[in-house]
């Protein structure tokens, strides 16, 4: 793409990333969560793929990173699910909630309140797991399609 698009994408990229991670991390307080935040982060990566040349951007965003993100997210989700069994409850039981001193373990007041990030038990951790998985998965889809377009020489001048 042109230099204007590249400069604008470089400028917008950190804000998109910060907004995406904010949505993931505040999933138990505000609207949104892992899926939505992961989609926003993947949109930022797609913006970089669209704005820059393939041979430059594929040196920074490697396929292995997205592969690891996707697999690690799903494994993290399942691990937190089985941790419930390990602590004597059922699969995906919220074993971290309402334990003072535990990470994300503070109790929350009933009714409308300002919200406390340090609540929710395993919900924020599951949010992070799903967010990491979705960002890896959606980026990997874009990466596969773009690699196909570049390797097969469809619009080689535009893509490469």
């Amino acid at each position: 793409m042109s230099k204007i698009v590249r400069a604008a994408a470089d400028f917008l990229y950190p804000f998109v990333m910060i907004f995406g991670f904010y949505i993931v991390l505040h999933g138990h307080l505000t609207p949104g969560g892992g899926f939505q935040g992961g989609a926003v982060i993947a949109t930022g990566i797609a913006l970089m793929f669209a704005a820059h040349r393939y041979r430059e951007i594929s040196l920074i965003f490697k396929k292995a990173i997205f592969n690891v993100c996707e697999t690690f997210g799903l494994l993290m989700f399942i691990t937190f699910g089985f941790a419930g069994i390990f602590f004597g409850k059922s699969f995906l039981y919220n074993w971290m909630v309402n334990i003072p001193g535990m990470l994300f373990g503070e109790a929350v007041a009933y009714g409308q309140n300002a919200g406390n990030l340090n609540t929710g038990g395993i919900i924020p951790l599951l949010n992070i797991a799903v967010g990491v998985e979705v960002l890896g998965a959606l980026s990997l889809i874009i990466y596969y399609m773009l690699t196909y377009v570049v390797k097969m020489g469809v619009n080689k001048e535009d893509a490469s």
């Binding site: 969560g33 909630v97 009933y110 998965a137």
Partner: protein, 96 residues
């Protein structure tokens, strides 16, 4: 003839739907049985520690559903990867 049959079935189904929603059996926005909703709203914050009741339902009360969604996304990416690898391998064979 076949189009006529399909059209008449559609008319009967949509007519039944409109008749039932016009104040007979189904009421939108005012469900008759609200025990589940009341339970989530009353106990969600206390039991899950999350202010967002939607997240409390999606990630705690129905966490298994979310695990299924994540697995679906994983399988989708697996399928797309296999498809594009196959396509690339085939076109490389043809070009040689």
């Amino acid at each position: 003839m076949r189009n006529l049959a399909v059209a008449s079935i559609l008319v009967v189904l949509s007519g039944t739907f409109v008749y039932m929603t016009a104040g007979h059996d189904i009421t939108f926005g005012r469900p008759v049985n609200t025990q589940m909703d009341d339970y989530f709203l009353a106990r969600g914050q206390e039991q899950t520690g999350a202010n967002n009741v939607v997240t409390a339902v999606v990630f705690d009360f129905r966490g298994f559903d979310t695990l299924g969604e994540a697995t679906v996304l994983f399988v989708v990416v697996l399928g797309i990867g296999m498809l594009f690898r196959k396509l690339m391998a085939r076109e490389e064979e043809e070009s040689e």
